[in-house]
């Protein structure tokens, strides 16, 4: 890893624009990622997260705008950018008929990692990710979670300063997901910078900074706390016998900003003045003996839903 000091910019992008035919995937986008950050890109499918990451990874050429990674242009100084980044694509990008070890060996060799380093790093990476016993298994015969770990290991073989991860945990079981983020936390501690796109709201909590993408633009960005602060009111959870009916009833109550189903709970955003627990219990009242109302911490899901519903189509960023 090259020496990077916190406070410098890992990624600096201005006015990025990319269209595919008539579809505008990324529109006039600015982005700043500080060195050492774990920066999460959130947003629905088609928001432009992949396109953005691929442009920064130099894999895609922007139609307009510029981006720099550690001070080097991604379009004109690709040769200086790529040695310092590791890119993990959304789809499986290893050779299916090569083994775990062979895949690592190949990509690391191509990256110019010396033989000694290849051996030692492969060994330690496989061990720390729990892949050691599968070293000789062909990549096509790995489970979803193991495939993702393999890809991550491959991106780490050349010890990059910046990791660009495009939905690394999509389709992976929850246990593997947690493991994955444990590994990312370790990388953060080592001082590496991570830009990760994810549709999972709960993963946003683990980032140092996040940005919401929607239809090609950044709607909101900042630290998780800053973003959460945007949402007025408090969050409550209502458990009931018939969640759907409860949802319908709750939405009609005054003081309720919005509500949505969360499993078999109903989460309610309360912006009213009165005490929400009393008001809700009273409002929903009566016949349901199992009705309970309690406060909850505002989570990203709620924040996002609120912002998506309430934000006009502008990209006023709360910068960090």
């Amino acid at each position: 890893m090259q020496s990077t000091s916190p406070g410098t910019s890992a990624i600096s992008a201005r006015g990025l624009h990319k269209s595919f035919g008539t579809t505008e995937a990324v529109i006039d986008l600015d982005l700043d990622v500080a060195t050492g950050a774990v920066y999460g890109l959130l947003g629905p499918d088609g928001a432009g997260k992949s396109t953005l990451i691929r442009m920064i990874a130099t894999v895609l050429t922007p139609d307009a705008g510029a981006a720099e990674v550690f001070g080097h242009s991604v379009t004109d100084q690709r040769g200086k950018v790529t040695p310092r980044i590791g890119y993990m694509s959304q789809r499986f990008s290893m050779y299916p008929d090569l083994s775990v070890a062979e895949n690592l060996e190949f990509f690391a060799t191509v990256r110019g990692v010396s033989r000694a380093d290849r051996n030692s790093r492969a060994k330690s990476l496989l061990e720390s990710m729990g892949l050691a016993e599968f070293a000789n298994r062909q990549a096509q015969h790995l489970s979803g979670g193991m495939k993702q770990k393999l890809m991550l290991a491959s991106t780490l073989m050349h010890s990059p300063d910046l990791l660009l991860l495009d939905e690394p945990t999509t389709g992976v079981d929850p246990v593997s997901r947690r493991e994955f983020w444990r590994i990312l936390a370790g990388l953060h501690r080592e001082g590496r910078t991570v830009l990760v796109a994810t549709p999972y709201m709960d993963e946003a909590e683990r980032c140092t900074h996040i940005a919401f993408l929607d239809r090609g633009r950044i709607r909101q960005s900042g630290t998780p706390e800053q973003i959460k602060a945007q949402v007025p009111g408090r969050l409550l959870e209502v458990a009931s016998a018939e969640p759907r009916r409860t949802l319908a009833a709750v939405v009609a109550l005054p003081g309720v900003d919005s509500a949505h189903l969360f499993g078999d709970l109903v989460r309610v955003l309360w912006t009213g003045a009165a005490d929400p627990i009393e008001a809700l219990t009273a409002g929903l009242g009566g016949t349901d003996a199992s009705l309970t109302v309690r406060t909850a911490n505002i989570d990203m899901e709620t924040v996002f839903a609120y912002l998506a519903e309430n934000a006009p189509a502008d990209a006023a960023a709360v910068s960090s």
Binding site: R54, A57, T58, V59, L60, T61, G79, T82, P83, I85, Y87, S89, R91, F92, S93, M94, Y95, P96, D97, L98, E102, F106, F107, T109, V110, R111, G112, S154
Partner: protein, 381 residues
Amino acid sequence: MKASLTRIGAVTNKEFKHLLRDVRTLAAVVLLPVIQLLLFAYAISFDVDNVPTMVIDYDKTPASSEYVRAYDASSFFKVVAHGDTLNQVDTAFDANTARVAVVIPAGFGETIAAGDKAQVAVLIDGSEPNSAKISQAYSVALNQLYDQSMTKSWAASQGLDLSGIGALEPRVRTWYNPERNSTIFLIPGLMAVIIAIVTVQQTAVTLVRERALGTEEQLLVSPMRRTELMVGKLLPWTLIAFIDVVMVILLGMAVFGVPLRGTPLVLALGSALFVFASLGMGLLISAVAPSAETANIMALMIAFLPSFLLSGLAFPLDQIPVVLQWFSGIFPARYMVTISRGVFLKGSGFAELWPELLTLAGYALVMVLVAARLYGRKARA
């Protein structure tokens, strides 16, 4: 430079692994050309003999019988039927049971006895021009000879002195292929064609597969240069195709008696360059094809007919319009056929074949570079 070689080595290594784990493709690429060559070399030839001939003798005299014997005696014609009417000729030609019909009119013997020239009709089925042409030539020759020998014996019986009349006699020498064995002529060309077809197919999909697999992006963020990727991908196939060439040469010599009169080194060099050039062509298709399916289709259509028809394998190239001659220069098979025939049959060496070698080398170079350029442009769209 060292880094470059390391990367090329890594790609070559990887491609070998892919190949060795795909037994079916391996078999197809290594065994198939050899098997097919053996089959075809055994089967095909342009040699024409024992042409089925029908004789319709309306005369039935000793003179006509003697005339018919001339055909019997010839190794070229094979009298298979004696007909009674002309209609039978039509039927025979339609059914392909006879290709030549000799019709001797009534009065043949009388006319000759009277000292005149008797007319005979020889009908040739022209629907297969190759054998028809040769049949025609042989008929003319046979009849001329018969006529001349009749003249001579008549002159002798008359006591005429023919000493004042000389004659020319053609002495035909066939160089490079004295037995006129067309198999020997065909095998060197066939070898080139089969390898051209097989190799173009294999590389046509190789780049498209990288894109389809998703590994292409990983390669894009690495220091790997496009040309390095191309070269790395071509090397294993070059080696395999080269093995094919060697096997074919050995089998051709051992089984079919194809002689190797020229400089083997030229053949080896030419083969290596040819394989590289054909693979390069496949690579180019791969780089411009939008999908694996189209790559396959394009490869099939581009490799197949042109290899057979524009390489000089079966059809001579010097009689066709000049524009087409230039166009045929696009296909590497053409040069390989020339080199192949030259080294096997004509005893050619560097002195004669350097233009072809140079062309193949240039071709390979251009193909790889163009493929590299086009590939990169599409990848980052």
